[in-house]
Amino acid sequence: MADAKTTRLRDYGLQSERLLWPTKGPSKFEEELGVEELEQALGITTLDKAVRWAQTKSMWPDTFGLACCAIEMMSIVGSRYDLARFGMEAFRSSPRQADLLIVSGRVAHKMAAPLRQIYDQMLEPKWVIAMGACASSGGMFNNYAILQGVDRIVPVDIYIPFCPPRPEALMEGIIRLHEAHLAGIPPAYERKEVAT
């Protein structure tokens, strides 16, 4: 674990990581610091806020379904758990057109190289969500074949536990990512290195 480069959210002065649904008022992050302080603490201008708002409202994921979590990711596009209300139903097949990489499923060592290649082909700003236990930490497969956590090769913004996560859990992860981005948190590749 790199100590100098990895910055945690608390380094920004944020006490809690708990994000709530966006309400009309300030978000939890903003409440903790006070609205004006947040902007000063993170150096966000109004234009920056507007750009972040736009990025959040249409963050297109890449079709990176690997295993069982991919089936739950497909059902989030379905009509019951509708991802289109967040502007994200357009799953791009080409990583060059995608913003968000939802690693859904267990990553075998053979697949690790294509995963890193896809991540490198994405244009910045880009985010990574490790969906499910297998992508977060190797899950129940602590063996020779599975990468023990996708954060060993790509920097991850949000980890979503469970096996497989319910579509609502995945949506909560996505919304937390939106809120973090709105609050000014930079994407993971600026904050941390890949875990060793």
């Binding site: 060592h109 053979k110 190797g138 497969f141 602590n142 063996n143 020779y144 074949a145 599975i146 023990q148």
Partner: protein, 182 residues
């Protein structure tokens, strides 16, 4: 069932749990498979499995504290069940699970035994389904099949060393504090 004694290379037959296992000699497995396909009518190869019996009868396996000498009622945590399993003929067993597509769905297991380093004839010409099945067993267990047109690794990386499913290959992964794995 019918007389399996006519299978080329026949060694023995066992019946257990409603299944028939015919053990054949390693050198005549291709003739035996052709016989099973043509004469006995087992036209479909369901599965091809290799099992590694390293240290099967040597140490207490999976919780048994067995001795070849026999029971010791005073040995704790054994419930008196101490019997080492019977020794197997060789290290690897190769089982061909065959299916006949007729009334009653008869199944047959053709089995041959081999040691590490020995090879077996490939049955790709008998059932093309054996192509990837044999490649998989070569990849994971290290059994080479003579006459296979494309015997390269299938599931692991092309430059992977070792054969993961063997008993002397470690499970891998990362060490965790509490694990039931020994």
């Amino acid at each position: 069932m019918n007389d399996f004694a006519k299978v080329p290379g026949y060694v023995s037959t066992t019946e257990a749990y409603g299944e028939t296992t015919v053990v054949v000699d390693r050198g005549s497995i291709r003739e035996a498979c052709t016989f099973a396909r043509d004469e006995l009518g087992f036209t479909m190869l369901s599965d091809l499995v290799a099992t590694d019996y390293l240290e099967w009868a040597e140490k207490g396996v999976s919780g048994y504290i067995g001795t070849a000498a026999g029971r010791d009622l005073n040995m704790p945590m054994t419930q008196g069940l101490q019997a080492l399993p019977d020794a197997k003929p060789a290290r690897f067993s190769l089982s061909y699970h065959l299916l006949a597509l007729r009334q009653g769905a008869p199944r047959l297991r053709l089995q041959c035994w081999l040691e590490d380093g020995e090879t077996v004839d490939s049955v790709v010409t008998v059932w093309p389904a054996a192509d990837w099945l044999e490649r998989e067993q070569f990849d994971l267990m290290g059994i080479r099949f003579d006459g296979h047109p494309n015997l390269v690794r299938l599931l692991m990386d092309d430059d992977w060393e070792g054969h993961p499913l063997r008993k002397d290959y470690p499970l891998g992964g990362e060490p965790v504090r509490f694990s039931s794995a020994e």
